[in-house]
Amino acid sequence: MHMSDGLINAPTSLIFGGVAVIGMAVAMVGARRDLDDRTAPMAGLVAAFVFATQMLNFPILPGVSGHLLGGALAAILAGPYVGALCVGIVLVVQALVFADGGLTALGANITNMAIIGTAAGYLVAVALRSVATRSKTGLAAVAFLAAFLNTVIASLGFVLEFAIGGDAAFSLGGVTATMVGLHALIGIGEGIITALTVTAVAAARPDLVHLLRGTEKPLEIRSAA
């Protein structure tokens, strides 16, 4: 969920605006290294993909639907820098063009979802890379875990911001329990969809899964004996 204006105070909003600018700058340098002159068109299309998947609602229970956030998915498929950059740009466009997420909360939203969430998801995936490359089930399990933790840790980013610049009327423990509980539920849905999506891409175009780079089997050339 995108934060609206007024959840955190003005100085905290400005601090996290600065954090977001620094994070996006780092992501930009990294993305350019990954994609060189292809960066803009490729990242543009990946960002459009992330945006489009956020429009796809999937059922959680009858009457209750959720939608993908896509941070861990983008990081596993396109790499952490391109992933963070795409999610960040999606958030900027949603705030400016679609009035979704407050303008003053934009820095905090980028910090949580594009930077903290994507980094957490990717670090989990990289730490378990040996499991992911072993089998299809392993890849699905790692993708699930990365997406689940991506969602939960991004919500902890909100708790941090709320602790610094939120409302003292609420106990931090209550806010933490509500946010983490809610996002654990969202994270399960996010995890299942991410796992199935990543395995589907890995089955068709394993070369497009950034996490699996360098594990392709070399072409075997046998001489006619």
């Binding site: 609206s4 956020q54 796809l56 979704d100 199935l196």
Partner: protein, 243 residues
């Protein structure tokens, strides 16, 4: 909560008012500073928030955009309204004031963002970011994203239609397999389209940056565009300084 971005242009209300004609960079800065002023206002100064609402409605009148345009689209705030209404139950009187704080500032924030989006096309917003010295790479990615969003979203809709017409009717989370595989296929198609778009751009002389079509705003234009910010600052100053 961003369920249901229908088209890319649903928020824009075409027009030729002075607000529409302001350079986009001025409008972005004005909207951002106004919301910062609103957020910085102490919550007990109820009259100040009424003043901000009058200010927003005045801008709507000048932009000649009907109030109903905003009323429908402000529904995006509903989840926050629910949270704000739950606050008194969780925190008593202090909770009620805190709920009011989130509700008032969140609503004014959404109305300001909607005003910006209603009077400025997506393309102009990107040009505005360009004029505000946003790195060319970011604005180029955002431009391409907006340009291809409709294509990718339409592709996603066609895939969904294909699934439904084949009897797909998911009701529970454990039935999302086909949807997820569809998302996987969508990623591959987006990525491959990106590769084709890149080659097409290179063959047409792409050098790595979009042409800048914007114009610099004169100091007078800046002053005119930042009038709402000055009003906000005056209200904020009165709210903070006058006991």
């Amino acid at each position: 909560m961003s369920a249901g971005h229908a088209g890319t242009n649903v928020l824009h209300h075409p027009g030729d008012s002075p607000v529409h004609r302001l350079p986009p960079q001025v409008k972005i800065v004005a909207a951002l500073l106004t919301v910062i002023g609103v957020v910085a206002t102490p919550r007990e100064e109820f009259w100040a928030f009424g003043g901000y609402l009058v200010l927003v409605v005045t801008v709507w009148r000048m932009a000649r955009v009907p109030v109903s345009h905003f009323a429908k689209r402000a529904l995006i705030e509903v989840p926050f309204v629910v949270i704000a209404l739950l606050m008194p139950l969780l925190g008593g009187a202090a909770g009620a004031l805190a709920g009011w704080n989130i509700l008032a500032k969140g609503t004014l924030g959404v109305l300001t963002s909607l005003t910006l989006a209603a009077t400025t096309t997506p393309r102009e917003l990107i040009v505005g970011l360009q004029r505000l010295r946003t790195p060319a790479m970011l604005t180029t990615i955002a431009t391409l994203m907006l340009r291809y969003l409709e294509v990718i979203a339409a592709e996603a809709r066609r895939m969904r239609l294909a699934r439904i017409s084949r009897g797909h009717d998911p009701r529970f989370l454990w039935q999302v397999g086909a949807t997820a595989r569809g998302i996987g296929a969508l990623f591959i198609r987006s990525y491959e389209r990106g590769e084709r778009v890149h080659l097409a751009m290179v063959s047409r002389g792409w050098r790595g940056a979009m042409p800048d079509r914007g114009v610099a705003a004169s100091p007078a234009t800046w002053l005119a565009g930042l009038t709402p910010v000055l009003v906000t600052a005056a209200v904020l100053g009165t709210a903070v300084l006058v006991p």
